[in-house]
Amino acid sequence: MLGKLSWDVIPFDQPLPMIASAVVALAILGVLAWVFLAGHFPYLWREWITSVDHKRIGVMYTLLALLMLLRGFSDAVMMRSQQALAFQAPGYLPPDHFNQVFSAHGTIMIFFGAMPFVIGLMNLVVPLQLGVRDVAFPTLNSVSFWLTATGALLVNISLVIGEFARTGWLPYPPLSETAYSPGVGVDYYLWAVQISGVGTLLTGINFVTTILKMRAPGMSYLRMSMFCWTSLAASLLIVAAFPILTATLAMLTLDRYFGFHFFTNEAGGNMLMFVNLIWAWGHPEVYILVLPAFGIFSEVISTFSSKPLFGYRSMVAATLFICIVSFMVWLHHFFTMGAGADVNAAFGIATSIIAVGTGVKIYNWMFTMYGGRIRFATPMLWSLGFMVTFVIGGMTGVLLAVPPADFLLHNSLFLVAHFHNVIIGGVLFGAFAGYTYWFPKAFGFRLHEGWGKLAFWLTLIGFYVTFVPLYAVGLLGMTRRMQHFDVSAWYPWVLAAGVGMLITTAGVVAQIVQLVVSIRQRAALRDATGDPWDGRSLEWATPSPPPVFNFAALPHVEGEEPYWSIKQRAREQNRLRDEPDYEPIEMPRNSPTGFICAFFATVMGFALIWHIWWMVALGALGALATFVVFAWRDIPEYVIPAAEVARIDRANRSARREALVTYTGPRP
């Protein structure tokens, strides 16, 4: 009746996960109880859960990302502290638990931390910057989000019911095959990633369509903001790469569920094919994450230097260059599997060629600052921290692309330090820059600057104190993923990295405090103008937070920095543009399709993991029925009357007029 499910699968004998999950469960129950008892549920259902507004979905993505970053970070704390205690000692995490922790850390950070953060910011900003009212497929967008949330939920269920994968974040066969991983851990991984991967693929399709087909009048490709360009590149990569992931995981699933032999030891299975395929997705994935971050830095550095982006066309070229070359380098993840000199050399060179694109970007950001009037607000600090840190990470990356050097460093903590250097220093710093930069746009008030700067400095210092020792200990030959170790030369470095972890933890606390303090002081931090940073792209033309329809009348774009030119003209003429003719606006109706579909997907995923076949059928049918009902609905849109549009836009105009009067601008 219940497949492999029984009371034995809940680890009552292990206090640590039990306490952790009990705390999480209590917190969730507490929030739910509060929502229902205080009568917030109808509001949440109407305004958020069923919302198809790209801004709301973006906020929910970001919230999911922040929660999952916390979960992944607590895994990181456990790993660092375990290793600090495990010199010639067992530490406090037994191997089967430690191995789940590092597998969950990687999976959560990439799939449910970094991806939703980046996609959340894309959702919030791209339609605004394009000057349009929503993405191409608003309901599909909601489905994407909720499927991602399903994946995150499944990973976290594994904490209590059963176990998570103990194979690393990429489950290399044959270790991940049933012969060596008979438990449900790998199945949790497969279905969580598979279901959220569908959501990501839909997002990619949605954004490619939106950016290619739905720009404001006059917004040619070469007038789009840099963030739109990098989002387009990332979305193209998603569309091209995620089907590979889906197919690869489907093959491993067939191996595990139906005794196929794609990657097994026996019957002609080829495990190297898995390694090739997973990295054919995995390397573009790195750029899916980092390209939007590059876009954020372009926006931030230009805005806070009070200058246009230097070498815009060059930046576009570099972005597309990276987008294409990122598909030709996957083999550098396994130089040490004996491919031979010609193959290794070719892929090594291809890999280092990517550094040309990133190098150009770094120099262009540098010259964007040249001749600027730089304001060191928190987003700018994250960007500067990124430029310095990422250059170092890029250097160690190119070093690892040199096969003879990689033979010495592959799978060592040097490698671990390298990819944290580029993912923390690139993606995460970018996401935090974007988070502080666009927070006022989403909520109408800024984040607290003092706490933000403290969080930045603690995170930056914590990062270096953690990962410079890991570089060093990697040069000493220490391998990643070790539950304990016996070599005394490694011990001081591991302890030093533990100290770095403490500093980073303080940084995380500062981030949380920043959010709490900002919410409490929101009246003082209010952004009345909708343009708190003297911005240059179209999102700053809307009020903060923007109305559901974004723009009362779609803007006519006449140059590369559309809002900046509108603002400059207003400043020169000392008046706003004439009021447009207000017309009624049609907007897509809210839809519970995404939420209900994700509910059934969760049921189906859970049932597949535990081999409860009747429940699988129920979940699949439910999800299908949801789509059928959605497809049959008659009234997909509702109308906002012209008077309402006028009222909202006139409020925005009066705020702009006030800002125009008080504007001083950068000192000439």
């Binding site: 067992p90 037994p94 191997p95 089967d96 191995n99 176990e163 690393g168 044959p174 012969a179 060596y180 991983s181 008979p182 438990g183 495990m271 246009p308 230097f310 070498g311 815009y312 060059s314 396994f334 040490t336 599997m337 004996g338 000199a341 010609d342 050399a345 090594g348 060179i349 060629i353 550094a355 040309v356 190098g359 150009v360 120099y363 540098m366 600052m369 040249y370 001749g371 600027g372 304001r375 430029m387 250059v391 170092i392 250097m395 040199v402 096969p403 003879p404 033979f407 010495l408 592959h410 799978n411 060093a472 000493l476 030959g477 391998t479 990643r480 016996d486 030369a489 950068p666 000192r667």
Partner: protein
């Protein structure tokens, strides 16, 4: 203008270089036993390539970092002496330089990559007067089996080789993937079931070198380590003789026993080895080693119970 910024930051550049040098020297000095302290020709050549590549890249990375910080500081909002160029967003000359610098560096580095990859191909035999010692390596859950086919002995979790003589490793895995790695001798190579990989290494001096698996392979992974003893030629013969005179014989039956999962296995030797055993394992003539029988590891392999 630009020049003035650079001149002003000269002190900073020097300081940056000094810092990088100190860090590098510190790492070199502190890396006793690591990949920067090689004890054989392969490791030494790989280290040279590693350090050369770092030096080439530092030559542009350090100025880039310094210039980034310099620009950011000089053009701060409060600096009244800095020029404001609110429209300046393009310069053909700078674009040319900006594309050329990375391209030139990568061209140079590509040469190193191409030549280095071929010179240090793990499959390539080492230049030596002496005939290489043949060693067959099998990774098991979770221990290393080293077979000496010419001597017809085998050892677990210890590797004895004559110093100064090249060693030719043929490697495979009985179960999951692992990577054979002796940091001070250089070069890492994976072991995979159904496949044979090749590696050539040599220890120049007498000594004991730490080796381990570099690819995660399951619960017993931390204990998948061994010591490589580089000994004099006569000591190697003595090792072979002593191995021959004691311990079990490694035949199909004792191999099946060995292939079962076990953790933190102490070093031992086998007096003889069934001919062609390595070949049988690598071509799946003997079935791959079994995994655990339940979701959680059996009690016998859990370190908590000292198994």
């Amino acid at each position: 203008m630009l020049l003035r910024v650079i001149v002003r930051n000269c002190a900073a550049i020097r300081l940056g270089c000094l810092g990088a040098t100190i860090l590098l020297v510190g790492l070199l000095a502190g890396c006793q036993g690591g990949v920067l302290d090689p004890q054989g020709p392969v490791g030494a050549a790989q280290r040279t390539i590693l350090l050369n590549s770092v030096a080439i890249m530092l030559a542009i990375v350090i100025p880039t970092i310094v210039a980034t910080l310099g620009f950011a500081w000089w053009f701060r909002e409060t600096n009244t002496r800095a020029r404001y160029l609110p429209e300046w967003a393009y310069s053909g000359r700078i674009e040319l330089v900006v594309w050329s610098i990375p391209i030139l560096v990568i061209l140079f580095l590509s040469g190193i990559i191409w030549i280095g990859s071929h010179d240090l191909d793990p499959m390539k035999p080492l230049d030596s007067q002496q005939k290489p010692l043949e060693v067959q390596v099998v990774s098991l859950d979770w221990k290393w089996l080293f077979i000496y086919p010419e001597q017809n002995v085998a050892s677990i979790n210890q590797l004895v080789v004559p110093a100064g003589r090249p060693v030719h490793f043929s490697l495979t895995s009985a179960s999951v993937m692992n990577a054979f790695f002796v940091p001070q001798l250089g070069g890492m190579i994976y072991t995979m079931n159904g496949m044979t990989t090749q590696l050539h290494l040599q220890a120049d001096q007498l000594g004991e070198f730490y080796g381990r698996s570099a690819h995660f392979s399951g619960d017993g992974f931390p204990g998948m380590q061994f010591v490589l003893h580089a000994v004099a030629a006569d000591a190697f013969d003595a090792f072979v003789n002593s191995a021959r005179s004691q311990g079990q014989a490694l035949d199909k039956a004792s191999y099946q026993e060995l292939a079962r999962q076990s953790i933190d296995v102490p070093p031992s030797t086998y007096r003889s080895v069934e001919p062609d055993l390595f070949h049988e394992i690598a071509t799946q003539g003997v079935p791959p080693a079994p995994g655990p029988q339940a979701g959680r590891p059996e009690p016998s392999v859990s370190p908590a119970t000292g198994g």
